[in-house]
Structure formats: structure tokens, C-alpha cells
């Protein structure tokens, strides 16, 4: 059988059909990403249902604030991390950049700097730490997984040198109340407010701009993207810097929210960010991910955690739930993929036999 020759020579021949064993044009049209996101919507509804069953508090007005406040910083950091993962890299040093930023802000404030200046320096420091990650990954070509595990420890180490074993606090009460009260006339915590703004910006950049197209292209095939004139290294560098800046911004939020800064205040919490990013349907191998996925994943993550805490489920059992969700998020698409590929292989085989 030589379908290639037929389609090429016959002027009115059939268009090539996608290799889809299910034969459903519908599935191809929706695309794997859409399917994952609709799954997340269902899961979010299930979470709300479960939460309202587990605790009468869950749907109470006021609880939305608590659902949001515990996930805000993670959700913000998940946005640039998602972009980085889409390009096929990863940044595991987000929380240590958060800690370093918070510690530097606290240190400067404790040494008499005005809080605003300390905040600006802390956020700018994020650009530096992010650029260092980007330099190691794009210029020296080192694997980002290893590099950022290294800087995860490195940045926290620097933070510890700056503030060895004390916490600094005493930030102006007007600022520290961001952890306690929502944005006036709403139930939205400040961090979630910032998240919404950043999410909209990220969504526009990723889904509506040439830069976003290039980010997907890099993740789909770095080499082919480079052959198409995409500035692969420059874009990756920019994303690492963005990740650094937003992590540092979260360091400021975090320190204000807890009214203190300490070098180990977010140790181990990078996993929460990673969970949100991958639960959002972002492909570890790159090329796939969406802002709406991150928003939904963050909402589910926060909702599940809040519902379980309200239901007094012990923390270790909550970890089991969160861990299972993460595994499911990579397992389900890959099972679907194996199913698809097996079908295709069988089809190929049948074609060859003919």
C-alpha cells in the first residue's frame, strides 16, 4: 500500500487523516490539553462537593480567604515554573529564592532601610538569582534539574549566612496584615489578587504573543525551533529571570504575611509549586502546559488541603492524597498515550500485512 504516492499524484485525493485509532475527529479537535483541563474542572467541582460534605465550614463565607491564603505564593511561583517546564527545563530553586529575598528584605529593614526600598532590593535580587540559574543552564549548558537543586541549597545557604539563626520581623503592621485580611470589599487574599494579575499576564504572553508561540516551539522541539530562528537561549534565560523575580516577590509577600523572615521559612515547599505545575497538565518533557491548567490545579490543591484540614485529616494523610493526585496527573495522560500508541502500532501492523 502506498498512500503517499496516491495522495501526491491524484489531484483530488483524500486529505491525510490524523493517525487516531479512535477515529474520532472530535478527540483530535479537542486535543490532549483540553481534555486534561476539562478533567481538572470536573475534579474542582468534585473538590468543592467533597469539601462541603466534609465540613460545613467549607462553603462558609470567609473560608475562601483561608483557601486562598495558603496557596497564593505557590500559585504565583507556579506560573513562571510552568513556562520553564514548557520549554523543557525546570527550576526547583523557587523556594530558596523566596527565602533569600525575604531574608534580605528583613536584614535591610532591620538595618534601618525603609521597607519600600528593602522590598525593591529583595525583588531585584530575584532577578540576579534567576539570571544565575539561567546562566548555568543556557550558557554553560548544564541540566536545569541538577543546577536548580544545587542553587536550591546554595541560595538557602546564603540566606542562612545573612541571618544565621534568628528571625527578623517588626515590619509595619499595615503591610503584615496582608496575611490576615482580604483585599477590602472582597474575600480575596492579597496574594491571590497578585496571582490573578500575574495569571492574566502569563496567559496573554503564553497564548497570545509570538513569545508564547516560541516557548511552546522550544518545548516541542528545541532543535527545530532553533532552526526556525527562535532565540532559544535568550528565552530560557528570560524565563529563569522571571521565575527569580516572582519567587523573590513571593518572598516579600511571605515575609510580610508571617511578619518575619527566616532563612528556612519555606524549606521543602518547592514541592507544592511542582505539584501545582504538573497537576496542571504541564508535560515534564516540555511543549505542553497552560495557564488555565495552573489556575485550576492551584484551586484544587488549595481546596483539597483546606477541606482535609477542616475535616481534621492528619497532615501525613493529606500528603498521601496530594502525592496520589500528582502521580495520577502524570499517569493518566501517559496511560492514554500508551493506549493511543498501541492502537496506532496495531494499525501500522495491519497495514503492513496487507
Amino acid at each position: 500500500m502506498s498512500s503517499d504516492v496516491q495522495t501526491a499524484t491524484g489531484g483530488t485525493s483524500q486529505p491525510d487523516m490524523p493517525l487516531d485509532p479512535g477515529g474520532g475527529g472530535l478527540r483530535a479537535r479537542l486535543g490532549p490539553l483540553m481534555r486534561w483541563e476539562s478533567g481538572l474542572v470536573v475534579l474542582l467541582l468534585a473538590t468543592v462537593l467533597m469539601g462541603s460534605q466534609l465540613s460545613s465550614m467549607f462553603l462558609e463565607s470567609g473560608n475562601f480567604f483561608y483557601i486562598g491564603i495558603n496557596v497564593g505564593e505557590f500559585a504565583i511561583m507556579a506560573l513562571p515554573l510552568m513556562l520553564i517546564v514548557v520549554t523543557g527545563e525546570i527550576d526547583l530553586s523557587v523556594t530558596s529564592q523566596l527565602e533569600l529575598s525575604g531574608v534580605v528584605m528583613g536584614y535591610l529593614f532591620a538595618h534601618g532601610w525603609p521597607i519600600a526600598a528593602a522590598m525593591v532590593v529583595a525583588v531585584c535580587l530575584g532577578a540576579v538569582t534567576g539570571a544565575f540559574n539561567g546562566f548555568l543552564v543556557t550558557r554553560l549548558g548544564l541540566p536545569s534539574m541538577i543546577v536548580t537543586i544545587g542553587t536550591l541549597t546554595l541560595y538557602e545557604g546564603i540566606a542562612q549566612v545573612i541571618l544565621p539563626n534568628t528571625a527578623v520581623g517588626g515590619f509595619p503592621a499595615g503591610l503584615t496584615k496582608i496575611g490576615l485580611v482580604p483585599i477590602p470589599h472582597t474575600e480575596i487574599p492579597y496574594s491571590i489578587g497578585f496571582f490573578i494579575i500575574f495569571a492574566v499576564i502569563t496567559a496573554v504572553v503564553l497564548h497570545k504573543t509570538p513569545l508564547g508561540r516560541s516557548i511552546y516551539a522550544i518545548g516541542t522541539n528545541r532543535e527545530a525551533a532553533f532552526f526556525s530562528g527562535v532565540h532559544v537561549k535568550r528565552i530560557k534565560m528570560g524565563l529563569f529571570i522571571t521565575s527569580g523575580i516572582l519567587s523573590a516577590f513571593c518572598g516579600v509577600l511571605w515575609s510580610l504575611r508571617f511578619a518575619s523572615a527566616r532563612y528556612d521559612m519555606a524549606t521543602g515547599l518547592e514541592l507544592n509549586v511542582v505539584v501545582i505545575v504538573f497537576f496542571a497538565g504541564t508535560a515534564f518533557s516540555g511543549g505542553k502546559g497552560s495557564v488555565i491548567g495552573v489556575v485550576l490545579a492551584a484551586a484544587i490543591f488549595a481546596g483539597v488541603q483546606n477541606a482535609l484540614t477542616l475535616d481534621l485529616v492528619p497532615a501525613q494523610n493529606q500528603n498521601i492524597v496530594i502525592g496520589s493526585l500528582l502521580i495520577a496527573s502524570v499517569l493518566i495522560p501517559s496511560v492514554a498515550d500508551v493506549y493511543r500508541r498501541t492502537g496506532q502500532r496495531l494499525q501500522d501492523l495491519a497495514r503492513r500485512r496487507l
Binding site: M57, Y66, N165, G169, L180, F258, A259, S260, M265, T309
Partner: protein, 352 residues
């Protein structure tokens, strides 16, 4: 003295120096002075309240026992205990539990703070909503009352005293602490250093404070490295249950067994074998169950408006007797009692 006697701990055989004696005398006299209020206070504790116990994490064995003590006292009062926390020792992990307590309208919170400052925004908010906030084991900067397991000064001093006696007041020693930020650890270490200034210890030298982060593996590693770094090390003080058991585990299987003196704060159940095999001769601890038990009565007393609290007020803590509120370092506190010294001879009587 009767007040310090407990169901589990016998104070007999416990020898403290002058400072401790003065301390106890003050407490005893305070208890005697308020004897008349006992009968008034106890019946008026409100029943049916919910109290959140928020340990550093949900798996710390010491605090699990303390929480059990809290359950005993709260059940006796007729209140309900809820234990809630995270699995990592961070302020961020404890925060959702405080929020839940606030949201569900709990009467009181008993918390072992992972961070003295970072929990304050939430705890202040809880207090603003008339929730009684009591800290135990590890204090925070914002609470109504701290249940001090033992006088910080007494613990610091007695640790050095035990070590000095066993080392013959000569040689190098190191401290194996928990996190470098742990409030209680740093307070004890500060008092150890004060005690060291006495001429009795002029031939003893504290070489370094190591931090095992209350993680068995880290503590083990740190023990190994301090013994390598200081070959002439003669003693280790580990004022943390995780630290002392890890260090004992290392020493028991090394050439240092019996040569390096180890003491500190430990759980009898974990340390029993090391007392019996000679790795450790003596260590100290208070009874964590009594700590939680006392915290339960304290928080109930505040939540029931039996105490305000302020200095000099007293309340009755079930079979532990009557306690008086005194002024401590970071605010108001009550002191459970002096630490108890465990030896090969008495350790078999304890099961926690």
C-alpha cells in the same frame, strides 16, 4: 513540695542546687497562698468547649505524648481536644491549623510554635477573636500563657552539672542541639554557657554547638563529624530527645562508647537500652504527659475566664495540684517543675 509529686514522676532522689530550691520554694508558697481559690475555680471550668492542640508536627513522639496528656485533662473537664498540624516543622505548615481553629470557633489553642515570630499574625488574630492561646514546649512571641516544662535556667544549669560531674570537671565537650532557630534550645544553651562561667568548670571547654535539626539522620551525621573534628572530645550535651537518642545510637556502636560522656534531655523509652548498656549514665526530662495535662487545664481556665491571666493568679490542674502564674522571659508562664534525672536504676518504671 507535695504539688510537684505526680503519678508518674517521683521527685525523691532528685537533687538540685540552690537556685532550684529557691524556685520550688517560691512556687510552693504561691500554691499555699491560693489554696482557698481552688475550690472556687474548678467547678466553673466551662464544659463542651473545643481546644486545638497544634504540635510542631503530627509525628513528633514527645509531643504525641504531650497531646495525650492534654486529652486526659480536657476529657476530665468535659471539653473536646482536636490535634492538628503539618508534617514539616515550619510555621507555614502550622498556619492552616490555626486558621481552622479560628474558623471553627475553637475556645482555645495550645501550640508548640515552630517559629516564634512567623506565627504571630495568626495567633494575634485568634486572640482578637477571644480564643485562649497557650504555648507549650516551644514558645512564641504572642500568647497569653506559656507552659514551661521546666525552668529554662534550671535545665541549662543541671545539664552542665551532670556532665561536669561525670567528666570529672575536665576536658572538651560539645552540644548537639535541634534547629539553630529553636527557641527553647537556644535558651537552654545560653544558661549552660552562664553555668560554665563558674570556677568549678574552668578546666572544661565547650568547643562548638552542633545542630542536628531534630532529624535522626542529621543528628547521627553531626555526632560523627564532631567526634572526628575533636578527637579529644570527652562529653556531649544533647538537650533534645532526637539528638540524644541519635548520639547514643552512634556512641553505642563506636569506639567512643563509655569514653565520651553523653547526657541531655531524652525519652526514657528511647534511652533505656543505652542506660542499660552503659553508653549513657544519666539524662533528664520532665514528663511530657504532665506538660500536656497542665496545658489542658491552663487553656480551659483562660477560656472559661477563670483566670485573665496575670501574674499571681492561680489555677488548679487536676491531680498535679495548683499552679501560679509568674513572669517569664517572653511574658506570663507557669513552670511544670524541675527536670527529673533518669538513671539505670529508675528508668524501668517509665513507659513513655
Amino acid at each position: 513540695m507535695k504539688r510537684l509529686r505526680t503519678g508518674h514522676l517521683r521527685v525523691g532522689g532528685f537533687a538540685t542546687l540552690a537556685v532550684a530550691a529557691v524556685m520550688v520554694a517560691v512556687l510552693a508558697s504561691a500554691g499555699a497562698a491560693t489554696g482557698s481559690t481552688n475550690r472556687v475555680n474548678s467547678p466553673s471550668l466551662t464544659k463542651g468547649q473545643t481546644v486545638y492542640f497544634i504540635p510542631k508536627d503530627t509525628v513528633n513522639p514527645y509531643e504525641v505524648i504531650a497531646d495525650q496528656g492534654g486529652k486526659i485533662s480536657l476529657t476530665a473537664i468535659g471539653d473536646k481536644q482536636v490535634v492538628s498540624s503539618g508534617t514539616s516543622d515550619t510555621a507555614a505548615a502550622q498556619e492552616p491549623s490555626i486558621q481552622t481553629a479560628i474558623e471553627t470557633g475553637a475556645a482555645g489553642i495550645v501550640i508548640a510554635g515552630n517559629d516564634p515570630a512567623a506565627l504571630c499574625p495568626e495567633l494575634n488574630q485568634a486572640m482578637a477573636k477571644k480564643i485562649a492561646v497557650v504555648t507549650f514546649d516551644s514558645d512564641t512571641n504572642c500568647r497569653q500563657l506559656f507552659i514551661n516544662q521546666a525552668n529554662t535556667q534550671q535545665i541549662g544549669e543541671s545539664e552542665v552539672q551532670i556532665l561536669g560531674k561525670e567528666m570529672g570537671y575536665k576536658g572538651q565537650f560539645a552540644i548537639l542541639s535541634a534547629e539553630s532557630t529553636a527557641t527553647n534550645q537556644n535558651a537552654w544553651i545560653a544558661w549552660m554557657k552562664v553555668e560554665m562561667k563558674k570556677p568549678l568548670y574552668k578546666n572544661m571547654q565547650l568547643v562548638k554547638v552542633y545542630y542536628g535539626n531534630d532529624d535522626p539522620a542529621t543528628s547521627l551525621q553531626v555526632t560523627e563529624s564532631m567526634l572526628q573534628a575533636y578527637p579529644n572530645l570527652k562529653g556531649i550535651i544533647a538537650p533534645t530527645t532526637v539528638g540524644i537518642s541519635s548520639a547514643a545510637q552512634y556512641l553505642a556502636h563506636s569506639k567512643y562508647k563509655g569514653k565520651v560522656i553523653l547526657t541531655g534531655l531524652g525519652l526514657p523509652s528511647q534511652m533505656k537500652e543505652y542506660l542499660y548498656d552503659g553508653t549513657v549514665a544519666e539524662f533528664e526530662l520532665w514528663n511530657p504527659r504532665n506538660l500536656g495535662y497542665l496545658a489542658g487545664y491552663a487553656v480551659a481556665a483562660i477560656a472559661s475566664h477563670v483566670i485573665t491571666p496575670k501574674v499571681g493568679q492561680t489555677f488548679r490542674a487536676g491531680n498535679l495540684g495548683t499552679y501560679t502564674i509568674i513572669k517569664g522571659v517572653g511574658g506570663l508562664q507557669v513552670v511544670l517543675g524541675p527536670p527529673f534525672v533518669f538513671t539505670k536504676a529508675n528508668v524501668g518504671q517509665f513507659n513513655f
